[in-house]
């Protein structure tokens, strides 16, 4: 045997973990779909909104790494100002820019995929600049370090183009999910409009990547956007 038994067991465990991750996401996606109408119930406070919208915990999966995320946002997150959220969004967008660069530099992508990734990276750069402007002096101008580390690690371990595309797919859906979360937390009309102008674009990125991955349309065109994959600012601090 050319590789150790431990390595083989690890590979088998990864496959099993990926299967389990998919099943977790399916259950929460179905719960979210049925919970959508409950979002509109009158809530006296933003905290009530979050509690009523949440049905169990969601997880963010970037590649095969499961990062815990609670849909019931911690109190601290609910106290974020628009500037804080914009700074967070800027950092997420810059992490996405770096992720696409790393993917292109991996040498594992075909030319058309690199071209698409380059375009998406440009979009994310523009998004980052817009959020940076909205964040004012809270803007860091830097990629989110926690997200960058997680995604960077996954990209380094990605065996081939399909694995890289899956990481990008998860990232784009996470971004869209995060902006939907943002629409529940932002206060000013300008900030709301900015988030709403970007969410559909991340969603469209996910569609293109989902198509290339050969996923069924029901995967990359859900009935509703949801917050299941949103990045928690508390778990992904800007600095």
């Amino acid at each position: 045997m050319e590789i150790s038994a431990r390595e083989l067991r690890s590979l088998a465990t990864d496959v099993d973990a990926e299967h389990r991750d998919g099943m977790v996401s399916m259950a929460s996606d179905l719960r979210e779909l049925h919970a959508e109408t409950r979002m509109l119930r009158t809530a006296a406070t933003r905290r009530d909104l979050f509690k009523k919208a949440g049905v169990g915990a969601g997880v963010l999966t970037i590649g095969s790494v499961v990062m815990p995320f609670s849909r019931l946002l911690p109190v601290a997150a609910q106290e974020l100002t628009d500037g804080d959220i914009a700074a967070f969004a800027e950092s997420v967008e810059l992490a996405a820019v770096e992720a696409y660069k790393a993917a292109a530099d991996s040498g594992k992508l075909s030319a058309p995929v690199v071209e698409a990734g380059t375009m998406f990276a440009r979009h994310h750069q523009e998004h980052a600049e817009a959020f940076g402007g909205a964040a004012g002096d809270k803007a860091s101008g830097k990629p989110n370090p926690t997200l960058l580390q997680a995604v960077g690690g996954q990209l380094k371990g990605a065996a081939n183009e399909k694995a890289i595309l899956q990481i990008a797919y998860d990232l784009e859906n996470a971004a869209a999910s995060t902006y939907l979360f943002g629409l529940g937390a932002l206060k000013s009309e300008a900030a709301l409009k900015l988030a709403a102008s970007i969410l559909p674009v991340e969603s469209q990125h996910a569609v293109v990547i989902g198509q290339v991955l050969g996923k069924p349309a029901t995967d990359f065109v859900p009935a509703f956007e949801n917050q299941d994959k949103a990045l928690d600012p508390a778990k992904f601090p800007v600095k």
């Binding site: 300008a190 990125h205 569609v207």
Partner: protein
Amino acid sequence: MSTDTSNEFTRREARATQIEHVSAMGQMREIVARLFGGDASESAAAKADFATGGVNRRGFLKIGGLSVATAAIFAACGSDDEGSGTTAGGEGDEDGGMSGNSGDLTIVRTAASLELLAVDVYQKAIDSGLVKTAAIGDAAKLFQEQHREHAELFNGAAKQMGGEPFEKANPEVMKSLEPALAGLKDELGVVKLAYDLENIAASTYFSTIGAFNDAKLNQAAMSVGGVEARHVAVLASVMNQPAVPKAFWTADGAVEAGTGV
């Protein structure tokens, strides 16, 4: 070799992993080859166009699953018929759409009416017999069903506000679409009409943001608006147009709240 599990278990797991890997890679090679390689006679521009929205139509459907609706090669893209969209009726801000003093109830009823309009338009498209490609038909049915769910969401909101749900297609917008519907000649025309309609829907939801008195409705609106944008991307790729042509969404073509309701 000394291990803490049996060699047979290890061999079995390795075989299973290898089978899955080879299968996935084979399929991936096929997908990439068909999507990006294509026919040698296809121009480099056409091949590269996939990444920004085009799709290698010849083989995609063979990949299976409820995938993107692609079809036999279209003779040509449809003309850029601006008349197939609709613009705001009544008063509103300078780019139309739902803003200003429109009440939440009016907004959600208008939204429901537009969703039901989409349901009806997709049904007309399906009934026309012009949709020949199974995958396009499947996508139309999927999108139609999603619009039905969107309508339920907004009508549910209307009821919770103590208002009357709007339970039919927006009559004013439908009237403006009638010439386009009557003029449909082929599958491409159907796809183009759906594309325009989905763009209008997505823009309309964007235009509502910040206009609600109940801020929670911002999330409801974009939980739907994001999906309409996904519909746009799918339909764009069918027509070999850029799936993601812009970095930011706008309210261009949005329908004014209160139109037709």
